[in-house]
């Protein structure tokens, strides 16, 4: 005999206390099949997981506890499965959105693992190309970028003026 669980939507979550199972209806338009698989896989060790198609656009997930449990335990099971389902669906979406970046990083990693270039590669390499273009100075070290001048240090212009004064015979300073 199925009944609703406290705090759970009755149209989506039902419990059968006699069988010790909870029945969830999952909207297939919100949760892809692989997200349901991922969530189900996490629960295989804890309970018996049964998947079915409730209707064309919905999955039915039946979780049967391996150990006898009460309504509170079934409610926790349903809640944890729902959380895992949401996390799986979101992880899958993040992976989809970042596919280009993941592929790029993976390719770079494999490229680095291929080892150093051969002599033929070096011979074919175009060294005339600018090695690095850094107009904003992003690659410059913090020390170089924000180095304070020393208190007694002279600038180039001041040094040049002093040398000129020393060599000028009419200046009177040089002897």
């Amino acid at each position: 005999m199925s009944e609703s669980l406290l705090g759970m939507p009755p149209a989506r979550v039902l419990a059968d206390l006699g069988e010790g199972c909870v029945i969830l209806t999952v909207d297939a338009s919100m949760y892809p099949q692989h997200a349901v698989y991922a969530a189900a896989y996490c629960f295989i060790a804890r309970c018996y997981v049964w998947l079915d198609r409730a209707e064309p656009e919905a999955f039915r997930v039946v979780l049967t506890a391996k150990q006898p449990t009460d309504a509170e335990g079934l409610r926790a099971l349903a809640g944890e499965f729902s959380n895992e389902l949401l996390a799986s669906a979101w992880r899958r979406e993040i992976t989809r959105l970042n596919r280009g970046l993941i592929e790029s990083v993976t390719m770079q990693a494999f490229g680095g693992a291929m080892g150093p270039p051969s002599l033929d590669d070096l011979e074919a390499f175009d060294f005339s190309d600018e090695p690095f273009d850094d107009p904003l100075g992003i690659a410059q070290s913090w020390e170089d970028k924000y180095r304070k001048p020393k208190p007694g240090a002279e600038t180039g212009a001041e040094t040049g003026a002093a040398v000129a004064a020393e060599t000028d015979p009419q200046g009177g300073a040089a002897t």
């Binding site: 099949q33 189900a40 998947l51």
Partner: protein, 74 residues
């Protein structure tokens, strides 16, 4: 006890592999047949409780193999 595995969710090869693994159980019988949308497995054992437990374990095993192979057969 009857198990009805939906074809869109379970791989037939995974069910066969699970049946092969469970076939060694003593005093237990499995009868597999196919319907339009389902693979159907009848589990018989010395008692109803034992048949139910074996059916649950068989379903879990088949689901795990299906997920590990990436979904149902194409």
């Amino acid at each position: 006890m009857t198990l009805r595995f939906h074809r869109a969710l379970y791989a037939g090869t995974a069910i066969d592999a699970a049946l092969g693994r469970f076939a060694q159980l003593a005093n237990t019988g499995f009868d597999r047949r196919e319907e339009v949308d389902h693979f159907v497995v009848e589990v018989t054992a010395s008692s109803e409780a034992r048949a139910k437990k074996i059916a649950h374990e068989l379903a879990n095993f088949a689901l795990g193999l299906t997920i590990e192979q990436g979904g149902p057969d194409r």
